[in-house]
Symmetry: C2
Subunit: 224 residues, 2 copies
């Protein structure tokens, strides 16, 4: 087997984005708004998890949601109707990721005053979203059991960049050979500070633990 | 719910790519090499399907494989060891898609003389790969049952661009609410010429039908 590397340079785009992301993170910190960037493959169960999580958190924290899609509005409509929290839809016109400028504009559009926690549902994609710092306080990476435990080997940047790794659809383990220990070990090699939350929304397992973790993280961030 | 559109223009990049893709398609046609661009989400079962499909086809057609990954070589090693056909690995250095230039260089690297059929396993991604014509003769889009039947609504460009839609992991229908008719109807709305192949490699179902279709398509293309 032979290997060939294709080289493309996009350093300057990324450097500009990093500066803008840092500025946004500083602004959000001053306002006490905790921003969670939620990334995963298409179909990993991001929206289902968010709806469940928000319904557990909305009495404790004031929450907003920014849904990103290339063109659809299906997720934003679902989240807003099932949780009642304010949700806006960003359309990226074909771009496969969110960058800090889009998120900054989205936060203005959402209106961030008084919000404790904003979930940013990124485009379903394990590649591009990992490259662009959105200014988020915390990065969720969602990996569903049917996708397989080899994904950290294949999309290393995503697994290096994430903070919180949520394994979804744990109830599907009965039909898929997914080795949770193997996945965790692969991720820890890339990212020694990774934290893991195995959940099943369908079986009502583990989302409570993740919700408690977030409440604590937001309080700490806000200095409460 | 409110909606905001982010505008970015990348027309010139795409126009250059289209010209290069057309030139590659013409060159491949002259050589009788049928190039299949295989696209899907991460974890949809692309590699598993290709291994099974190639083992059914390799006595009838001379096959090569171009595996694209951002950095890993795990798929190329798997395909080569399990099928014995010549496989090269393209590393895209963080790019989330293949373009016609990369594929043209990859074909030179693979050495296309005498090949009937080349599978190009694109980066696992439902967004960017749809935007870039690779010069392929035929485009496979793979959608696995656990991803959900709403994916055509959320990634419309991919489902508009594909020719052949393969529903994988059909054996997992016992634990997932995936409505095959609904998915097919959504895709046909975007793409009236779409063809569907439901398969399960694990249960040995449907891959034979897809293999027969490909043998016929390659013969027709080569004028045999």
């Amino acid at each position: 087997m032979e290997t060939m590397r294709v080289i493309k340079v996009k350093q300057s785009v990324l450097a500009n984005n990093d500066a803008r992301a840092d500025a946004l993170r500083k602004k959000l910190k001053e306002k006490g708004v905790f921003l969670v960037n939620v990334m995963s493959s298409p179909g990993s169960g991001k929206t289902t998890l968010l709806v469940d999580l928000i319904n557990r958190l909305k009495d404790k924290l004031k929450i907003g949601v920014i849904e990103a899609d290339m063109d659809a509005t299906v997720d934003a409509a679902t989240v807003e109707s099932k949780t009642g929290v304010k949700t806006i839809q960003l359309h990226t016109s074909g771009e496969c990721h969110l960058d800090a400028k889009m998120v900054d504009e989205g936060m203005d559009f959402l209106g961030d005053d008084g919000l404790d926690l904003v979930f940013l549902e990124n485009i379903g994609n394990l590649v591009c979203p990992a490259e662009f710092d959105t200014g988020a306080t915390l990065k969720f990476v969602i990996l569903s059991i049917p996708e397989g435990d080899d994904k950290p080997l294949k999309y290393p940047l995503m697994f290096r960049k994430g903070d919180i790794f949520v394994f979804t659809k744990m109830d599907a383990k009965i039909v898929f050979d997914f080795d949770v220990n193997k996945a965790e070990k692969s991720i820890l090699k890339l990212n020694p500070d990774a934290k893991f939350f195995p959940v099943s929304v369908k079986a009502n397992q583990g989302v409570d633990v993740l919700a408690d973790y977030l409440v604590d993280a937001v309080k700490k961030y806000q200095g409460k």
